[in-house]
């Protein structure tokens, strides 16, 4: 933005949301240069922390008045650069809008502000017999507003569906600063399902300020199992066979030996380190049906040459297993200084082929790849390990990552199952969609966000994505 007008914008923003709700000095802004995708960095001109819908509307109106970009941000855990403030402007950090406004069990919904952290809602529901089903691995930090923007998944979305299946409606501030209610706590509002297209729109259509989410009954019981395999092929074949047998586990996750070593070091669960792959399989529901499902799954795994299928003995062990799984990315720091992960999806029957290709591609480019992913959905998360001080390695990592995603497309899949396009995967949109497809998407954006005020240069490569050039892959591993 034009530097001369910045002090005046900051002053106006302070008037709108209070002085304690505006960050504008260089050191403070550093934090907001990127999200979980750290390759690209771009500083916002100013960060604001609205406390109400009216605050958000005032901020968007100022963005229009000063003709600067405006980008909503939750916890900044996005892995695809959705929160990268391309072109600077105003970052609207929604973390102070963190109230759970209503919980209505009879009608199975909650009304929350966008800054509510995912796990807070489930904690608030403890003991009621209900929970909020989408459970991304970052649920301890990520916000429901951010989940809405990226249509987040998580391990248990295999049975329960992703965020869009659990959002009933929202209140939002539009690109012109007006406030609108879309959908609501009752189902089937007449007219177009704009809620359905707003979920997963990566902040490019509107800024959600209140969200009605569906609550889900807690299952009566669980059976959580570990299938131990001596080859990755046997494990991936088991996944495909379980799905093909018509069993819908609540979760079905795979971890290969590479990641198991790191997990064992971090959590000392007692994983067999000589196993090539482990499946974490959970079924839930009525007790009356669980043993039968467990036995069928165990039988399938054994038929696929599992060395062992063991069941979590109690709730504590189940929780520990899930903790290991959900914090797996954190443990990668034990394997290498940096990593990048991809989010491709393939049909479940293609998993054995795809895993073989991932290891081949890693070998071909001389990079190490470990895998921990939502196997039941066919949603891969190959983690490519590297040291970002080695420029040659970085080139090879980029080449391997691109080849993996190309292979996903060739298998009839997608380049992102839950992380989003953001800026990271913009160029892949042209491989997935025709110019006509993208033109229709562009026109939808125009209906909501005609001048590109909100989250410019995201999601669509046609949206004037100027010069986002990927120079280096991935992010520093968490320490």
């Amino acid at each position: 933005m034009i530097a001369q007008r910045l002090p005046s914008l900051i002053e106006d923003l302070r008037r709108a949301v209070g002085s304690d709700g505006v960050l504008a000095n260089r050191a403070d802004l550093l934090v907001y240069e990127c999200d979980g995708f750290v390759i690209e960095k771009s500083s916002p001109d100013v960060v604001v922390f609205p406390r109400s819908t009216a605050d958000v509307a005032a901020v968007v109106r100022l963005a229009n008045e000063y003709d600067v970009p405006c980008l909503p941000r939750g916890a900044g855990t996005s892995l695809a650069g959705g929160c990268l403030p391309v072109g600077g402007g105003i970052v609207v950090a929604l973390t102070r809008m963190k109230r759970i406004l209503e919980i209505d069990l009879r009608n199975r919904y909650a009304l929350v502000e966008p800054g509510v952290v995912n796990v807070w809602l489930t904690q608030a529901l403890k003991g009621t017999g209900f929970h909020y089903a989408p459970d991304p691995s970052s649920q301890g930090a990520c916000t429901i507003g951010g989940n809405l923007a990226t249509n987040s998944g998580g391990p248990h979305t295999l049975k329960y569906g992703v965020t869009v299946n659990h959002v009933l409606g929202l209140e939002a501030v539009l690109a012109d600063g007006s406030i609108v209610e879309i959908g609501g706590p009752a189902e089937d509002a007449p007219g177009l399902d704009l809620t359905g297209v707003l979920v997963g729109s990566e902040g490019t259509l509107a800024i959600a300020t209140k969200i009605w989410v569906r609550l889900t009954r807690d299952p009566q019981g669980y059976r959580t199992m570990l299938g131990v395999f001596e080859s990755v092929d046997d494990a991936t074949t088991s996944i495909s066979e379980i799905i093909a047998a018509g069993i819908v586990p609540a979760a079905l996750e795979m971890m290969d030996q590479g990641i198991l070593v790191a997990l064992e070091e971090a959590f000392q669960f007692g994983f067999p380190l000589d196993a090539q792959a482990i499946l974490l399989i959970e079924v839930d529901g009525l007790e009356a049906g669980l043993d039968e499902q467990r036995d069928r799954i165990a039988e399938i795994c054994q038929r696929c040459h599992a060395r062992e299928v063991r069941q979590a003995v109690d709730a504590a062990e189940r929780q520990k297993l899930w903790k290991c799984r959900k914090q797996a990315f954190g443990a990668v720091g034990r394997l290498s200084p940096s990593y990048c992960t991809q989010d491709g999806v393939v049909p479940r029957t293609k998993l054995p082929h795809m895993l073989r290709r991932i290891y081949e591609i890693g070998g071909k480019h001389g990079v190490r790849i470990v895998n921990v992913f939502h196997a039941g959905d066919g949603n891969l998360h190959p983690i490519v390990l590297f040291d970002e001080r080695n420029p040659d390695e970085i080139r090879r990592v980029l080449a391997a990552s691109g080849e993996i995603l190309d292979e996903c497309i060739a298998c009839g899949g997608s380049v992102t199952g839950e992380h989003g396009i953001g800026v990271e995967k913009l160029e892949f949109m042209r491989k997935l969609f025709t110019p006509d497809d993208l033109a229709v998407m562009e026109r939808l954006r125009h209906a909501f966000n005609p001048v590109g005020r909100l989250s410019p240069h995201k999601m669509l490569p046609t949206a004037g994505a100027c010069g986002i050039e990927q120079r280096a892959p991935g992010r520093r591993a968490a320490l």
Partner: protein
């Protein structure tokens, strides 16, 4: 039975393309000539919406009814939009799979039409609506541009989710040509438990307890007024009847029936139950067909009007009472767990249909945090936008903006949906 298309839509002609490019070419020509296009599936929902006034072209999807790809082991299927719902169901059943959405008149209705009209029924309580199953879509917009969104995998966040946007859009944004659906394994067992209740108050009290039942119902249905069947579980004429559907393995269903009967005894409610296949299927079918204007069974007559309200589920008995005040003979079915209330009127309500809807029932639905729309009426003379679709929603301006982007010349199913004149 489908409504006679000639009486419902002012068609000059009907074309039946057999491929998407051919269909797109037709729409492009119509866009050029500003000619109205009425997409036609199984023609089972032509009553929905404002009466069509503009003459135009019928665009039938009957020639596009192929199964494109059915990788059963991946639990997905890709089909052309003109495939009949019953044919889809047969294909899936052969692999012991199903699309758990209740679609009326399945032998006639097409999957594209079911998506465009957001068809649903009792099972939505457990299984959601059709938007939860469409993972990929191809369509032709009002410019004649063929486009796709989503894909063939069950999890995918690349690009805007037009799969959801086109559900329930009644052909006003684009003509759906092909869809990929996520499907589910078919449960082996199905049963109903039901009870008769002396009043709506008693029904409300019982419904509240079901919120935290140890069982996991597939459907929770509340009936009042003339019964939708002459025999079996639906034949009762008690002031209120509650039916609970259970599906799953035989052991799960048996346990749940036992459990709900035990819970009922503790509350002084006597549940009957049946797992007898023919009876169970007949109940699912009658409840699914309830919204069809000339459905068999209900009050032994075809309906004068069908109304649908969607409200908070805790408010359905309030809404039913306000309907009964003006229409004491109405047959009413509520998908109670989902807050969806369908009303079959066979007599004109006190004060006239339009006035009853606009002055009494729509405000009652709003007070229950929801909406009320008219699905079908024998006399279409007094229908206005508000009578049919209710007061404009808060996001009406956005809806129109989206419509104008997809169909800038306003040729797709014009004048019938929520946009007012568009």
């Amino acid at each position: 039975m489908p409504t006679d298309v000639a009486h419902t839509l002012p068609l000059d002609d009907t074309l039946t393309p057999v491929a998407e490019d051919e269909l797109a070419r037709v729409v492009r020509e119509c866009a050029r000539d500003r000619r109205a296009v009425y997409p036609l599936g199984g023609q089972t929902s032509l009553d929905v919406g404002l009466p069509a006034r503009r003459r135009g072209l019928g665009l039938s999807l009957a020639g596009m009814n192929n199964i494109v790809d059915y990788p059963a082991r991946d639990m997905t299927i890709t089909v052309e939009a003109g495939l009949r719902v019953a044919d889809l169901a047969d294909k899936l059943a052969a692999e012991n799979q199903w699309l758990p959405i209740d679609i009326p008149e399945a032998s006639q209705a097409t999957i594209g039409g079911a998506i465009a009209s957001n068809a649903s029924g009792p099972r939505r309580y457990a299984h959601g609506t059709i938007r939860d199953y469409v993972i990929g879509i191809r369509a032709v917009d009002g410019r004649g541009t063929a486009f796709q969104a989503g894909g063939r995998v069950v999890k995918n966040v690349a690009g805007y989710d037009f799969c959801k946007l086109l559900c329930g859009s009644f052909g006003t944004l684009a003509v759906i040509t092909q869809v990929t659906l996520k499907i589910k394994p078919r449960p082996p067992a199905s049963a109903w438990a039901w009870c008769e209740l002396p009043s709506l108050e008693a029904a409300d009290k019982l419904l509240a307890t079901l919120t935290t039942s140890a069982t996991t119902p597939t459907a929770i249905e509340l009936l009042t007024g003339p019964p939708p069947d002459e025999e079996g579980p639906l034949a009762s004429v008690a002031p209120a009847r509650l039916l609970i559907g259970y599906e799953g393995t035989a052991a799960e269903v048996a346990w749940q029936l036992e459990q709900i009967q035990m819970a009922g005894r503790a509350e002084g409610v006597n549940y009957q139950s049946t797992g007898e296949t023919a009876t169970v299927q007949r109940v699912w079918s009658r409840l699914t067909e309830f919204s069809v204007p000339d459905a068999e069974g209900v009050a032994q007559t075809s309906a004068l009007a069908i109304i649908k309200a969607s409200v908070l589920s805790s408010m359905i008995t309030n809404l039913i009472r306000s309907i009964q005040e003006l229409a004491p003979t109405a047959a009413i079915l509520a998908h109670a767990g989902s807050g969806i209330v369908t009303v079959r009127l066979s007599e004109t309500p006190l004060g006239g249909l339009a006035a009853a809807i606009v002055r009494h029932w729509q405000p009652a639905a709003r007070a229950a945090r929801g909406n009320l729309v008219l699905l079908a009426a024998r006399d279409t003379g007094e229908l206005t936008r508000q009578v049919v679709w209710g007061m404009p929603q808060d996001d009406a301006r956005l809806q129109l903006a989206v419509k104008q982007q997809f169909d800038p010349h306003g040729i797709l199913n014009p004048g019938r949906f929520v946009y007012g004149s568009a």
